[in-house]
Symmetry: none
Subunit: 232 residues, 2 copies
DNA sequence: CCGAATTGTCGCAATTTTGTCGCAAATCCA
DNA sequence: TGGATTTGCGACAAAATTGCGACAATTCGG
Protein backbone atom coordinates (compact mmCIF):
# COMPACT_ATOMS: atom_id res chain seq x y z
CA UNK A 1 0.00 0.00 0.00
CA UNK A 2 1.09 3.54 -0.62
CA UNK A 3 2.59 5.09 2.48
CA UNK A 4 2.77 8.79 3.23
CA UNK A 5 4.90 10.37 5.94
CA UNK A 6 3.52 13.58 7.42
CA UNK A 7 5.95 15.85 9.26
CA UNK A 8 3.89 18.49 11.02
CA UNK A 9 4.00 19.80 14.56
CA UNK A 10 0.63 21.52 14.70
CA UNK A 11 -1.47 18.76 16.17
CA UNK A 12 -4.85 20.01 15.03
CA UNK A 13 -3.84 20.48 11.45
CA UNK A 14 -2.05 17.16 11.45
CA UNK A 15 -5.17 15.39 12.66
CA UNK A 16 -7.20 16.80 9.83
CA UNK A 17 -4.64 15.91 7.21
CA UNK A 18 -4.18 12.40 8.51
CA UNK A 19 -7.87 11.72 8.52
CA UNK A 20 -8.16 12.97 4.98
CA UNK A 21 -5.27 10.91 3.63
CA UNK A 22 -6.65 7.94 5.44
CA UNK A 23 -10.01 8.41 3.82
CA UNK A 24 -8.28 8.67 0.46
CA UNK A 25 -6.88 5.20 1.03
CA UNK A 26 -3.27 5.88 1.96
CA UNK A 27 -1.32 4.43 4.83
CA UNK A 28 -0.12 7.28 7.02
CA UNK A 29 2.77 7.91 9.35
CA UNK A 30 3.14 10.98 11.50
CA UNK A 31 6.06 12.60 13.24
CA UNK A 32 6.33 16.03 14.78
CA UNK A 33 9.93 17.07 14.32
CA UNK A 34 12.76 17.01 11.84
CA UNK A 35 15.00 14.41 13.38
CA UNK A 36 12.15 11.98 13.81
CA UNK A 37 11.30 12.60 10.18
CA UNK A 38 14.71 11.45 9.00
CA UNK A 39 14.59 8.39 11.19
CA UNK A 40 11.14 7.44 10.11
CA UNK A 41 12.01 7.99 6.48
CA UNK A 42 15.05 5.77 6.67
CA UNK A 43 13.20 3.02 8.42
CA UNK A 44 9.80 3.06 6.72
CA UNK A 45 10.73 4.28 3.26
CA UNK A 46 7.46 6.07 2.54
CA UNK A 47 6.36 6.76 -1.03
CA UNK A 48 5.89 10.45 -0.35
CA UNK A 49 6.72 12.97 2.36
CA UNK A 50 4.58 15.94 3.37
CA UNK A 51 6.90 18.33 5.11
CA UNK A 52 6.12 21.43 7.11
CA UNK A 53 8.61 24.24 6.74
CA UNK A 54 8.81 25.23 10.37
CA UNK A 55 9.68 22.36 12.63
CA UNK A 56 11.23 21.80 16.03
CA UNK A 57 14.75 20.39 16.29
CA UNK A 58 15.55 20.50 12.56
CA UNK A 59 13.77 22.77 10.14
CA UNK A 60 12.05 21.64 6.99
CA UNK A 61 14.69 22.96 4.65
CA UNK A 62 17.44 21.02 6.35
CA UNK A 63 15.31 17.91 6.44
CA UNK A 64 14.69 18.27 2.74
CA UNK A 65 18.38 18.70 2.03
CA UNK A 66 19.25 15.54 3.89
CA UNK A 67 16.41 13.53 2.43
CA UNK A 68 17.62 14.44 -1.00
CA UNK A 69 21.00 12.96 -0.29
CA UNK A 70 19.57 9.57 0.53
CA UNK A 71 16.53 9.02 -1.67
CA UNK A 72 14.45 10.49 -4.46
CA UNK A 73 11.21 10.31 -2.47
CA UNK A 74 8.88 13.04 -3.69
CA UNK A 75 8.37 15.83 -1.17
CA UNK A 76 5.42 18.16 -0.81
CA UNK A 77 6.27 21.18 1.31
CA UNK A 78 3.86 23.14 3.44
CA UNK A 79 4.74 26.77 3.96
CA UNK A 80 3.16 29.66 5.75
CA UNK A 81 2.16 32.70 3.80
CA UNK A 82 4.73 35.24 2.61
CA UNK A 83 7.89 33.27 3.04
CA UNK A 84 8.83 34.15 -0.45
CA UNK A 85 12.55 33.87 -0.16
CA UNK A 86 12.28 30.54 1.57
CA UNK A 87 10.09 29.27 -1.17
CA UNK A 88 12.59 29.98 -3.87
CA UNK A 89 15.34 28.47 -1.78
CA UNK A 90 13.17 25.41 -1.34
CA UNK A 91 12.67 25.08 -5.05
CA UNK A 92 16.38 25.09 -5.53
CA UNK A 93 16.90 22.40 -2.96
CA UNK A 94 14.46 20.25 -4.81
CA UNK A 95 11.03 20.13 -3.26
CA UNK A 96 8.66 18.67 -5.81
CA UNK A 97 5.67 20.78 -4.96
CA UNK A 98 4.40 23.38 -2.55
CA UNK A 99 1.26 24.26 -0.70
CA UNK A 100 0.77 27.56 1.05
CA UNK A 101 -1.25 27.62 4.24
CA UNK A 102 -4.12 27.76 4.47
CA UNK A 103 -5.00 25.17 1.87
CA UNK A 104 -8.00 22.95 1.45
CA UNK A 105 -7.92 19.23 2.01
CA UNK A 106 -9.30 18.77 -1.45
CA UNK A 107 -6.30 20.48 -2.90
CA UNK A 108 -3.86 18.62 -0.71
CA UNK A 109 -5.18 15.27 -1.86
CA UNK A 110 -5.14 16.39 -5.48
CA UNK A 111 -1.48 17.35 -5.21
CA UNK A 112 -0.55 14.18 -3.42
CA UNK A 113 -2.13 12.17 -6.20
CA UNK A 114 -0.37 14.17 -8.85
CA UNK A 115 3.02 13.76 -7.16
CA UNK A 116 2.62 10.03 -6.70
CA UNK A 117 1.57 9.63 -10.28
CA UNK A 118 4.53 11.57 -11.51
CA UNK A 119 6.91 9.60 -9.32
CA UNK A 120 5.47 6.38 -10.64
CA UNK A 121 5.87 7.55 -14.19
CA UNK A 122 9.48 8.44 -13.60
CA UNK A 123 10.16 5.09 -12.07
CA UNK A 124 8.61 3.38 -15.05
CA UNK A 125 10.46 5.27 -17.68
CA UNK A 126 13.69 5.17 -15.73
CA UNK A 127 14.02 8.81 -16.47
CA UNK A 128 17.53 9.51 -15.35
CA UNK A 129 17.07 13.01 -16.45
CA UNK A 130 15.38 13.86 -13.18
CA UNK A 131 17.50 16.12 -11.08
CA UNK A 132 17.49 15.89 -7.34
CA UNK A 133 17.91 19.58 -6.96
CA UNK A 134 21.50 19.70 -5.89
CA UNK A 135 23.30 18.52 -8.96
CA UNK A 136 24.66 20.85 -11.55
CA UNK A 137 22.39 21.08 -14.56
CA UNK A 138 23.61 21.88 -18.03
CA UNK A 139 22.35 22.51 -21.51
CA UNK A 140 24.80 23.41 -24.17
CA UNK A 141 26.90 26.31 -23.04
CA UNK A 142 24.51 26.90 -20.21
CA UNK A 143 25.21 25.61 -16.75
CA UNK A 144 23.36 25.95 -13.47
CA UNK A 145 24.57 25.03 -10.02
CA UNK A 146 21.69 25.06 -7.54
CA UNK A 147 23.88 24.80 -4.49
CA UNK A 148 26.18 27.62 -5.44
CA UNK A 149 23.18 29.49 -6.79
CA UNK A 150 25.08 30.37 -9.90
CA UNK A 151 24.28 30.10 -13.56
CA UNK A 152 26.94 30.37 -16.22
CA UNK A 153 27.01 30.87 -19.94
CA UNK A 154 30.35 29.80 -21.36
CA UNK A 155 31.91 30.02 -17.91
CA UNK A 156 30.68 33.60 -17.77
CA UNK A 157 28.47 34.07 -14.68
CA UNK A 158 24.96 35.24 -15.48
CA UNK A 159 23.42 37.89 -13.31
CA UNK A 160 19.95 36.45 -12.74
CA UNK A 161 17.27 37.73 -10.40
CA UNK A 162 15.72 35.24 -7.97
CA UNK A 163 12.68 34.75 -10.15
CA UNK A 164 14.72 34.29 -13.28
CA UNK A 165 16.95 31.81 -11.55
CA UNK A 166 14.05 29.76 -10.26
CA UNK A 167 12.44 29.79 -13.67
CA UNK A 168 15.57 28.68 -15.44
CA UNK A 169 16.12 26.01 -12.83
CA UNK A 170 12.65 24.64 -13.29
CA UNK A 171 12.98 24.59 -17.06
CA UNK A 172 16.37 22.90 -16.88
CA UNK A 173 15.02 20.25 -14.56
CA UNK A 174 12.63 19.05 -17.22
CA UNK A 175 13.84 19.96 -20.68
CA UNK A 176 11.18 19.44 -23.28
CA UNK A 177 8.34 19.56 -20.84
CA UNK A 178 5.80 22.29 -21.42
CA UNK A 179 4.81 24.34 -18.38
CA UNK A 180 1.52 26.16 -18.33
CA UNK A 181 1.44 29.68 -16.98
CA UNK A 182 -0.86 28.53 -14.21
CA UNK A 183 1.64 25.89 -13.17
CA UNK A 184 4.51 28.34 -13.23
CA UNK A 185 2.59 30.86 -11.17
CA UNK A 186 1.70 28.19 -8.67
CA UNK A 187 5.18 26.79 -8.50
CA UNK A 188 7.48 29.77 -8.69
CA UNK A 189 5.35 32.71 -7.64
CA UNK A 190 3.14 30.86 -5.21
CA UNK A 191 1.95 33.93 -3.30
CA UNK A 192 -1.70 34.08 -3.99
CA UNK A 193 -2.01 37.79 -4.48
CA UNK A 194 0.54 38.36 -7.18
CA UNK A 195 0.80 37.93 -10.78
CA UNK A 196 -1.35 37.52 -13.77
CA UNK A 197 -0.25 35.69 -16.87
CA UNK A 198 1.54 38.78 -18.02
CA UNK A 199 3.98 38.41 -15.15
CA UNK A 200 5.10 35.10 -16.51
CA UNK A 201 5.52 36.54 -19.96
CA UNK A 202 7.73 39.23 -18.61
CA UNK A 203 9.82 36.90 -16.53
CA UNK A 204 10.41 34.80 -19.63
CA UNK A 205 11.14 37.88 -21.66
CA UNK A 206 13.75 39.03 -19.18
CA UNK A 207 15.31 35.60 -18.90
CA UNK A 208 15.48 35.24 -22.67
CA UNK A 209 17.29 38.52 -22.92
CA UNK A 210 19.90 37.57 -20.38
CA UNK A 211 20.46 34.23 -22.08
CA UNK A 212 21.34 35.97 -25.32
CA UNK A 213 21.26 33.69 -28.36
CA UNK A 214 20.34 30.75 -26.19
CA UNK A 215 17.20 32.58 -25.23
CA UNK A 216 15.60 31.06 -28.27
CA UNK A 217 15.84 27.69 -26.59
CA UNK A 218 12.91 28.77 -24.47
CA UNK A 219 10.03 28.08 -26.80
CA UNK A 220 6.57 29.49 -26.62
CA UNK A 221 3.89 26.84 -26.56
CA UNK A 222 1.04 28.76 -28.01
CA UNK A 223 -2.05 28.88 -25.85
CA UNK A 224 -0.27 26.96 -23.12
CA UNK A 225 2.96 28.33 -21.78
CA UNK A 226 6.67 27.74 -22.27
CA UNK A 227 9.14 24.93 -22.78
CA UNK A 228 12.89 24.52 -22.94
CA UNK A 229 13.82 22.95 -26.24
CA UNK A 230 15.79 19.78 -25.47
CA UNK A 231 19.34 19.56 -26.64
CA UNK A 232 18.94 18.00 -30.07
CA UNK B 1 -17.56 34.23 -18.80
CA UNK B 2 -16.38 33.51 -15.31
CA UNK B 3 -19.19 33.76 -12.79
CA UNK B 4 -18.78 34.43 -9.09
CA UNK B 5 -21.48 33.93 -6.48
CA UNK B 6 -21.29 36.23 -3.47
CA UNK B 7 -23.13 35.16 -0.34
CA UNK B 8 -23.11 38.10 2.04
CA UNK B 9 -25.87 39.67 4.10
CA UNK B 10 -24.20 42.97 4.91
CA UNK B 11 -25.52 45.11 2.08
CA UNK B 12 -22.86 47.78 2.19
CA UNK B 13 -19.97 45.37 2.10
CA UNK B 14 -21.65 43.35 -0.62
CA UNK B 15 -22.06 46.43 -2.79
CA UNK B 16 -18.39 47.23 -2.58
CA UNK B 17 -17.33 43.70 -3.35
CA UNK B 18 -19.69 43.38 -6.27
CA UNK B 19 -18.50 46.59 -7.82
CA UNK B 20 -14.91 45.47 -7.48
CA UNK B 21 -15.46 42.04 -9.02
CA UNK B 22 -17.42 43.64 -11.77
CA UNK B 23 -14.57 46.00 -12.55
CA UNK B 24 -12.23 43.02 -12.63
CA UNK B 25 -14.32 41.55 -15.42
CA UNK B 26 -16.27 38.85 -13.65
CA UNK B 27 -19.96 38.14 -13.90
CA UNK B 28 -21.45 38.42 -10.42
CA UNK B 29 -24.42 36.96 -8.60
CA UNK B 30 -25.49 37.98 -5.13
CA UNK B 31 -27.65 36.34 -2.50
CA UNK B 32 -28.05 37.24 1.15
CA UNK B 33 -28.71 33.98 2.93
CA UNK B 34 -27.62 30.40 3.03
CA UNK B 35 -30.61 28.71 1.46
CA UNK B 36 -30.64 31.11 -1.44
CA UNK B 37 -26.95 30.39 -1.85
CA UNK B 38 -27.57 26.68 -2.36
CA UNK B 39 -30.35 27.33 -4.80
CA UNK B 40 -28.38 29.81 -6.79
CA UNK B 41 -25.35 27.55 -6.85
CA UNK B 42 -27.37 24.62 -8.13
CA UNK B 43 -29.00 26.65 -10.79
CA UNK B 44 -26.21 28.95 -11.99
CA UNK B 45 -23.16 26.78 -11.34
CA UNK B 46 -20.76 29.60 -10.63
CA UNK B 47 -17.02 29.13 -11.04
CA UNK B 48 -16.31 30.36 -7.54
CA UNK B 49 -18.25 31.15 -4.36
CA UNK B 50 -17.42 33.86 -1.87
CA UNK B 51 -19.11 32.86 1.35
CA UNK B 52 -19.63 34.81 4.54
CA UNK B 53 -19.34 32.75 7.69
CA UNK B 54 -22.28 34.28 9.49
CA UNK B 55 -25.51 34.15 7.51
CA UNK B 56 -29.24 34.18 8.16
CA UNK B 57 -31.25 30.99 7.74
CA UNK B 58 -28.26 28.68 7.22
CA UNK B 59 -24.75 29.53 8.36
CA UNK B 60 -21.73 29.56 6.11
CA UNK B 61 -20.22 26.41 7.47
CA UNK B 62 -23.35 24.41 6.80
CA UNK B 63 -23.65 25.90 3.33
CA UNK B 64 -20.08 24.89 2.64
CA UNK B 65 -20.72 21.37 3.84
CA UNK B 66 -23.67 20.96 1.52
CA UNK B 67 -21.95 22.59 -1.43
CA UNK B 68 -19.15 20.09 -1.09
CA UNK B 69 -21.56 17.25 -1.46
CA UNK B 70 -22.64 18.43 -4.84
CA UNK B 71 -19.70 20.13 -6.52
CA UNK B 72 -16.02 20.97 -6.27
CA UNK B 73 -16.56 24.68 -6.81
CA UNK B 74 -13.78 26.59 -5.07
CA UNK B 75 -14.95 28.55 -2.03
CA UNK B 76 -13.42 31.65 -0.47
CA UNK B 77 -14.69 32.18 3.07
CA UNK B 78 -15.06 35.51 4.75
CA UNK B 79 -14.81 35.41 8.50
CA UNK B 80 -14.76 37.94 11.27
CA UNK B 81 -13.00 35.62 13.63
CA UNK B 82 -9.51 34.41 13.09
CA UNK B 83 -9.32 31.67 15.65
CA UNK B 84 -7.38 28.61 14.83
CA UNK B 85 -10.29 26.29 15.50
CA UNK B 86 -12.48 27.96 12.91
CA UNK B 87 -9.75 27.78 10.36
CA UNK B 88 -9.28 24.08 10.94
CA UNK B 89 -12.97 23.32 10.84
CA UNK B 90 -13.32 25.32 7.65
CA UNK B 91 -10.43 23.63 5.92
CA UNK B 92 -11.70 20.27 6.94
CA UNK B 93 -15.01 20.90 5.30
CA UNK B 94 -13.23 22.10 2.22
CA UNK B 95 -12.95 25.86 2.05
CA UNK B 96 -10.16 26.76 -0.34
CA UNK B 97 -9.07 30.02 1.17
CA UNK B 98 -9.88 32.49 3.92
CA UNK B 99 -10.10 36.19 4.36
CA UNK B 100 -10.50 37.75 7.78
CA UNK B 101 -12.47 40.95 7.97
CA UNK B 102 -11.52 43.64 7.42
CA UNK B 103 -9.66 43.06 4.18
CA UNK B 104 -8.74 45.20 1.21
CA UNK B 105 -10.48 44.89 -2.13
CA UNK B 106 -7.12 44.55 -3.75
CA UNK B 107 -6.42 41.46 -1.74
CA UNK B 108 -9.86 40.02 -2.34
CA UNK B 109 -9.52 40.27 -6.08
CA UNK B 110 -6.04 38.85 -5.97
CA UNK B 111 -7.21 35.83 -3.99
CA UNK B 112 -10.12 35.31 -6.29
CA UNK B 113 -7.80 35.24 -9.24
CA UNK B 114 -5.43 32.87 -7.51
CA UNK B 115 -8.25 30.51 -6.56
CA UNK B 116 -9.63 30.42 -10.06
CA UNK B 117 -6.18 29.75 -11.41
CA UNK B 118 -5.63 26.95 -8.98
CA UNK B 119 -9.00 25.42 -9.67
CA UNK B 120 -8.10 25.35 -13.34
CA UNK B 121 -4.84 23.66 -12.48
CA UNK B 122 -6.56 21.01 -10.40
CA UNK B 123 -9.07 20.42 -13.13
CA UNK B 124 -6.24 19.86 -15.57
CA UNK B 125 -4.53 17.49 -13.20
CA UNK B 126 -7.62 15.43 -12.56
CA UNK B 127 -8.36 15.35 -16.25
CA UNK B 128 -4.93 14.02 -16.96
CA UNK B 129 -5.61 11.44 -14.31
CA UNK B 130 -8.65 10.09 -15.99
CA UNK B 131 -7.13 9.79 -19.39
CA UNK B 132 -3.54 8.75 -18.89
CA UNK B 133 -2.55 12.21 -19.95
CA UNK B 134 1.11 11.65 -19.34
CA UNK B 135 1.93 8.72 -21.55
CA UNK B 136 3.34 9.18 -24.97
CA UNK B 137 0.86 8.09 -27.58
CA UNK B 138 1.84 6.81 -30.97
CA UNK B 139 0.36 5.64 -34.22
CA UNK B 140 2.67 4.77 -37.04
CA UNK B 141 5.08 7.60 -37.64
CA UNK B 142 2.93 9.83 -35.49
CA UNK B 143 3.81 10.47 -31.88
CA UNK B 144 2.25 12.69 -29.24
CA UNK B 145 3.73 13.60 -25.89
CA UNK B 146 1.14 15.27 -23.66
CA UNK B 147 3.67 16.36 -21.05
CA UNK B 148 5.92 18.13 -23.45
CA UNK B 149 2.88 19.19 -25.39
CA UNK B 150 4.58 18.14 -28.57
CA UNK B 151 3.45 16.06 -31.51
CA UNK B 152 5.92 14.60 -33.97
CA UNK B 153 5.75 13.08 -37.41
CA UNK B 154 8.89 11.10 -38.11
CA UNK B 155 10.71 12.89 -35.30
CA UNK B 156 9.82 16.17 -36.99
CA UNK B 157 7.86 18.39 -34.56
CA UNK B 158 4.44 19.38 -35.80
CA UNK B 159 3.31 22.92 -35.26
CA UNK B 160 -0.21 22.39 -33.94
CA UNK B 161 -2.60 24.96 -32.53
CA UNK B 162 -4.18 24.27 -29.13
CA UNK B 163 -7.39 23.02 -30.70
CA UNK B 164 -5.61 20.81 -33.17
CA UNK B 165 -3.45 19.37 -30.44
CA UNK B 166 -6.41 18.61 -28.21
CA UNK B 167 -8.23 17.01 -31.09
CA UNK B 168 -5.34 14.80 -32.09
CA UNK B 169 -4.79 13.87 -28.47
CA UNK B 170 -8.38 12.78 -28.10
CA UNK B 171 -8.34 10.77 -31.30
CA UNK B 172 -5.10 9.06 -30.41
CA UNK B 173 -6.43 8.12 -27.02
CA UNK B 174 -9.17 6.06 -28.57
CA UNK B 175 -8.21 4.91 -32.04
CA UNK B 176 -11.15 3.44 -33.87
CA UNK B 177 -13.72 5.18 -31.75
CA UNK B 178 -16.06 7.53 -33.56
CA UNK B 179 -16.62 10.91 -31.98
CA UNK B 180 -19.74 12.88 -32.74
CA UNK B 181 -19.42 16.59 -33.41
CA UNK B 182 -21.54 17.27 -30.36
CA UNK B 183 -19.17 15.25 -28.20
CA UNK B 184 -16.14 16.97 -29.64
CA UNK B 185 -17.66 20.38 -29.07
CA UNK B 186 -18.41 19.42 -25.50
CA UNK B 187 -15.01 17.95 -24.84
CA UNK B 188 -12.59 20.17 -26.68
CA UNK B 189 -14.46 23.41 -27.04
CA UNK B 190 -16.06 23.09 -23.60
CA UNK B 191 -18.19 25.96 -22.49
CA UNK B 192 -17.17 28.18 -25.34
CA UNK B 193 -19.00 26.04 -27.84
CA UNK B 194 -20.11 29.11 -29.69
CA UNK B 195 -18.97 27.28 -32.72
CA UNK B 196 -21.32 25.22 -34.77
CA UNK B 197 -20.58 21.92 -36.42
CA UNK B 198 -18.65 23.73 -39.08
CA UNK B 199 -16.00 24.64 -36.51
CA UNK B 200 -15.30 20.99 -35.97
CA UNK B 201 -15.05 20.36 -39.68
CA UNK B 202 -12.53 23.10 -40.01
CA UNK B 203 -10.46 21.93 -37.10
CA UNK B 204 -10.33 18.47 -38.65
CA UNK B 205 -9.52 19.96 -42.00
CA UNK B 206 -6.61 21.89 -40.61
CA UNK B 207 -5.35 18.95 -38.64
CA UNK B 208 -5.52 16.67 -41.67
CA UNK B 209 -3.48 19.12 -43.65
CA UNK B 210 -0.75 19.33 -41.08
CA UNK B 211 -0.62 15.56 -40.80
CA UNK B 212 0.14 15.28 -44.50
CA UNK B 213 -0.36 11.79 -45.90
CA UNK B 214 -1.36 10.51 -42.51
CA UNK B 215 -4.26 12.90 -42.56
CA UNK B 216 -6.24 10.24 -44.29
CA UNK B 217 -6.12 8.21 -41.12
CA UNK B 218 -8.77 10.53 -39.77
CA UNK B 219 -11.91 9.09 -41.30
CA UNK B 220 -15.23 10.76 -41.72
CA UNK B 221 -18.13 8.88 -40.18
CA UNK B 222 -20.93 10.09 -42.29
CA UNK B 223 -23.78 11.74 -40.45
CA UNK B 224 -21.92 11.37 -37.15
CA UNK B 225 -18.44 12.74 -36.86
CA UNK B 226 -14.87 11.51 -37.11
CA UNK B 227 -12.71 8.58 -36.19
CA UNK B 228 -9.03 7.70 -36.26
CA UNK B 229 -8.48 4.58 -38.29
CA UNK B 230 -6.68 2.07 -36.08
CA UNK B 231 -3.27 0.90 -37.09
CA UNK B 232 -3.95 -2.02 -39.47
C1' DC C 1 15.79 58.27 3.87
C1' DC C 2 17.84 57.75 -0.67
C1' DG C 3 19.21 54.97 -4.82
C1' DA C 4 19.47 50.59 -7.19
C1' DA C 5 17.51 46.30 -8.35
C1' DT C 6 13.55 43.62 -8.92
C1' DT C 7 9.10 42.76 -10.38
C1' DG C 8 4.05 43.57 -11.47
C1' DT C 9 1.09 46.21 -14.64
C1' DC C 10 -0.42 48.49 -18.67
C1' DG C 11 -0.79 49.41 -23.53
C1' DC C 12 -0.13 48.58 -28.18
C1' DA C 13 1.54 46.13 -32.13
C1' DA C 14 2.48 41.75 -34.20
C1' DT C 15 1.32 37.23 -34.62
C1' DT C 16 -1.53 33.23 -34.53
C1' DT C 17 -5.70 31.01 -34.18
C1' DT C 18 -10.45 30.19 -34.99
C1' DG C 19 -15.32 30.91 -36.47
C1' DT C 20 -18.14 31.85 -40.45
C1' DC C 21 -19.56 31.89 -45.10
C1' DG C 22 -20.06 30.35 -49.75
C1' DC C 23 -19.85 26.97 -52.93
C1' DA C 24 -18.29 22.58 -54.76
C1' DA C 25 -18.02 17.72 -53.99
C1' DA C 26 -19.46 13.61 -51.87
C1' DT C 27 -22.90 10.61 -49.82
C1' DC C 28 -27.31 8.82 -48.84
C1' DC C 29 -31.91 7.29 -49.82
C1' DA C 30 -35.87 6.37 -52.37
C1' DT D 1 -30.95 8.69 -61.30
C1' DG D 2 -32.33 12.86 -58.71
C1' DG D 3 -32.88 15.55 -54.78
C1' DA D 4 -31.75 16.36 -50.07
C1' DT D 5 -28.04 16.27 -46.71
C1' DT D 6 -23.71 16.37 -45.27
C1' DT D 7 -18.90 17.27 -45.72
C1' DG D 8 -14.48 19.47 -47.87
C1' DC D 9 -12.15 23.51 -48.32
C1' DG D 10 -10.49 28.22 -49.52
C1' DA D 11 -10.91 32.98 -47.97
C1' DC D 12 -11.70 36.41 -44.83
C1' DA D 13 -12.66 38.72 -40.53
C1' DA D 14 -12.90 38.49 -35.71
C1' DA D 15 -10.82 37.02 -31.59
C1' DA D 16 -7.24 35.44 -28.75
C1' DT D 17 -2.50 35.32 -27.45
C1' DT D 18 2.01 36.85 -27.09
C1' DG D 19 6.24 40.20 -27.48
C1' DC D 20 8.00 44.00 -25.58
C1' DG D 21 8.87 48.72 -24.05
C1' DA D 22 7.65 51.94 -20.41
C1' DC D 23 6.44 52.92 -15.96
C1' DA D 24 5.20 52.30 -11.08
C1' DA D 25 5.37 49.89 -6.81
C1' DT D 26 8.18 47.46 -3.74
C1' DT D 27 12.23 45.83 -1.48
C1' DC D 28 16.76 46.05 0.25
C1' DG D 29 21.09 47.96 1.65
C1' DG D 30 23.70 51.48 3.16
Amino acid sequence: MTTILLVEDERDLAQVILRELDAAGYRTLHVVDGLAALESHACEQPDLVILDWMLPRLDGLEVLRRLRKSAPTPVLMLTARSEETDRIVGLEVGADDYLTKPFSMRELVARVRALLRRAELIRQTLNADRSDGVEVLARGALQLDPQAHVARLDTEPLDLSPTEFALLHLLLRSPGRAFSRAYLLDTIWRESYVGGDRSVDNAVLRLRKKLGPLGEAIETVWGVGYRLRPER
